[in-house]
Symmetry: C2
Subunit: 171 residues, 2 copies
């Protein structure tokens, strides 16, 4: 299974692709960031996010997109841009009939470190350890995207096993 | 000039198209609502908003899209969906090189009624009066979309005249 993690953002959108086979350590396929120019108009920046994420999606053809669930709390204009970038990632997945999953920041922290309140450094360190990397990927958005992909692998896998068990119980 | 007003929303997205010629009353071209099924998954609903708004855009080929500027304040999941629907309207405009403008709810109220705190009924009544309609269009999202189009005509027109005067002054 190939998972594309997306840490949504208008200025920097982290993207991380991992491959996973049963019983094997997840493997890093590619990681990077889609950037847009803060001097551009907002609609043009959304267009650039769409173009960038579409290029990643088309290049790596993931089975699942795992996106950070966005909540508005403070810094409202930023949250709007982040939510819109997340919406664009959802659109790209839905267009291709790809599975789209959302995970909250605390789900990601808990899945990677065992604590929903872990810091960025701890999450980055665990991403490096899980994927067998010498150091956490930078910038933080790239590491977060991989953390979202790993979270889906672990949590999504569990839900899938549960769903499969329910289906077996019904038949 | 043809203006497409969009009152963004995930469940109901109001759309209103008006035509305007200098010195003439703005004319209603079409008004309606793009709806999505609340039982569908979020990514599929965003896809339905995109398909619906694209159909309106392609059918009426506006010169400008005027979209309500969304601010997160309360009811967070709704605001996320509203912001994403607004982002999709921006994307559709940007893809076609169409002018995209944002107007806040209080700008719309002030433009239509003279007061930034006017109620929905007052705005709807003014939309009907400006366009020479027997009654405000329903649902409210449809009337709001027309109000956004009218606001852009009046406010955008003023800015354009200003920009033209500045350009003349320079040359």
């Amino acid at each position: 299974m190939r998972v594309m993690g997306v840490d949504p953002g208008l200025t920097r959108c982290g993207v991380g692709i991992i491959d996973a086979a049963p019983g094997a350590r997840p493997r890093l396929v590619a990681v990077g960031v889609v950037r847009t120019d803060p001097h551009e108009q907002h609609p043009q920046r959304l267009l650039a996010v769409e173009a960038g994420l579409t290029e990643w999606f088309d290049s790596y053809r993931p089975d699942v997109i795992s996106i950070e669930a966005v909540f508005a709390q403070h810094n409202l204009p930023t949250v709007t841009g982040v939510g819109q970038a997340a919406g664009i990632a959802m659109l790209i997945g839905a267009r291709s009939g790809c599975q789209v999953a959302m995970h909250t920041p605390s789900e990601v922290k808990a899945a990677l470190t065992g604590s929903g309140r872990a810091g960025k450094e701890q999450v980055g360190a665990m991403v490096a350890r899980v994927l067998g990397l010498a150091a956490p990927p930078t910038p933080a958005d790239a590491a977060d995207a991989l953390a979202l992909a790993i979270t889906h692998l672990w949590r999504g896998g569990a839900s899938n096993r549960y769903a499969a068990a329910v289906a077996r119980g019904r038949s």
